[in-house]
Symmetry: C2
DNA sequence: TGCAGTCTGTTCGTTGCCGAACAGACTGGT
DNA sequence: ACCAGTCTGTTCGGCAACGAACAGACTGCA
């Protein structure tokens, strides 16, 4: 590939990028760049979190595993957010797990440092609270979507949400993975994806999905995608006053 | 009825009851006792919240109404919590609605006063953040439950959660209401409730459900009930250091 | 006492998804 | 170039929940 590779910078995470220099500088020394390979579990159920993660190019899925072994995603986190809410909200553990759904990079902040940074107050605290609120919206909408919408609609939603966090329109995910994210059978995804491909909205081959007609996907999607997107934009618009400067290198 | 009626006191709300006197006193003058009749909408979607509500004897349902008209509960709030998270988390509105599901009383705090009280910091802030975290757990578990568990399991969960917040084992709720909470058809509830009655776990008549065998309900329930209950207890146990004193009158 | 309104019980066909099982197809490593 | 491992396509029966429609039963108000 000939695309110029920009080395990940903390500024690629929207929350970090929104901090004024006075708050960002002391934090930046504590942030640690880490690779986030597909499938890596950042934390499991009831497990003491060691770090908070600020994804830059990766996507993390928050999900819960039922006693029967089935699972379901409750929310996902990309460069617009942070994984490890419970470190500053309190409790230090969750009943859910966090697993990397799309490989990439991210910055992590050690547990105590995360807590300390939050307790300083300032804009960071405000941003983190806003983000938590947007996470609430996402989870609530997932609950509703699971109840009322079809697998095809949910597939569209999932694809669009992933697409929003990817630089290209090529997603690397197997149907197996998509099925486990949505908490449905793999065959269900095969059928739904087959329909979308037949209608020219996507095209895929073994673990790669190319979105051909984004508007078409949105049309076939349920309202949930739009609701979450608008709400997140609204919640964070007046705190994220700074766009991530594209040329800032570390 | 011969039961002595204890006038609601702010201490009947667990969050308020947990505050040390120094924090509670200034707040108590700002709290306003309000009746919360069945069906009252505390706020609707994208509507500016005017108050935060601390239920004492009432139960409030947070839910979302889909474009098709169907709805689904994402979480419910009783005396263990507060309605109006977004006042202190930021954003001031939500895409969901809050409706009184079980009539009773509660205390409300005006919008600005709520924000101010949160921003003071102190134990109140810590408690509210912990509670928000427990709400996240509840929503996540609802999402999972909607995906994987049967109507009967979810009915048991809903009954148990309501029961935990009621003084007696007699719930006042119609099948119609239960159906709209769970986001399923009324007939589905009729059948499921019929089964539970046949097996001697509950008995009901026109809007009244008496729980006869609590352990039996738990056995037929999905894991979600227990997960949420344990997690909420854990999250709030070390901040709610004071039990609500039973004899405190206003 | 009657009646309207609401709540509950039951039916029937339909549908979306599950569970299991298997065949073909692609990919990467040796 | 092969082969093991993984991913995808397709089949089948089965079931839980849906949607619509209606009959009976209870309650509270007039």
């Amino acid at each position: 590939m000939s695309a110029t590779f920009t080395f990940p910078s903390p500024n690629q995470n929207h929350l970090l990028a929104a901090l004024p220099p006075g708050e960002f500088e002391p934090l930046s020394a504590q942030l640690e760049l880490v690779a986030m390979p597909l499938g890596k579990m950042l934390y499991g159920p009831d497990e003491q979190l060691q770090h908070a993660y600020f994804p830059t190019t990766s996507i993390v899925s928050l999900h819960y595993i039922v006693e029967s072994g089935a699972s379901a995603e409750t929310a996902s986190v990309g460069s617009e957010g942070v994984v490890g809410i419970s470190l500053f909200m309190g409790g230090d553990t969750t009943s859910s797990s966090a697993v990397v759904q799309t490989a990439g990079h991210g910055y992590r902040l050690e547990r105590r440092l995360m807590k300390a940074a939050f307790n300083v107050g300032g804009l960071l605290q405000k941003i983190l609270l806003r983000y938590t609120q947007s996470l609430l919206t996402q989870m609530a909408q997932t609950a509703v979507c699971n109840r009322h919408h079809t697998v095809e609609q949910q597939l569209c939603r999932s694809l669009l949400q992933t697409l929003d966090r990817m630089p290209s329109s090529e997603l690397v995910m197997t149907q197996e993975l998509l099925a486990s994210l949505l908490g449905v059978r793999r065959e269900g995804i095969t059928v739904a994806a087959g329909n979308l491909q037949r209608d020219g909205l996507i095209s895929y081959r073994r673990g790669h999905i190319a979105v051909l007609d984004r508007a078409g996907l949105e049309a076939r999607c349920c309202e949930c995608y739009g609701v979450v997107k608008r709400e997140c934009a609204r919640l964070l618009s007046d705190v994220l006053y700074r766009q991530p400067p594209p040329s800032t290198r570390r």
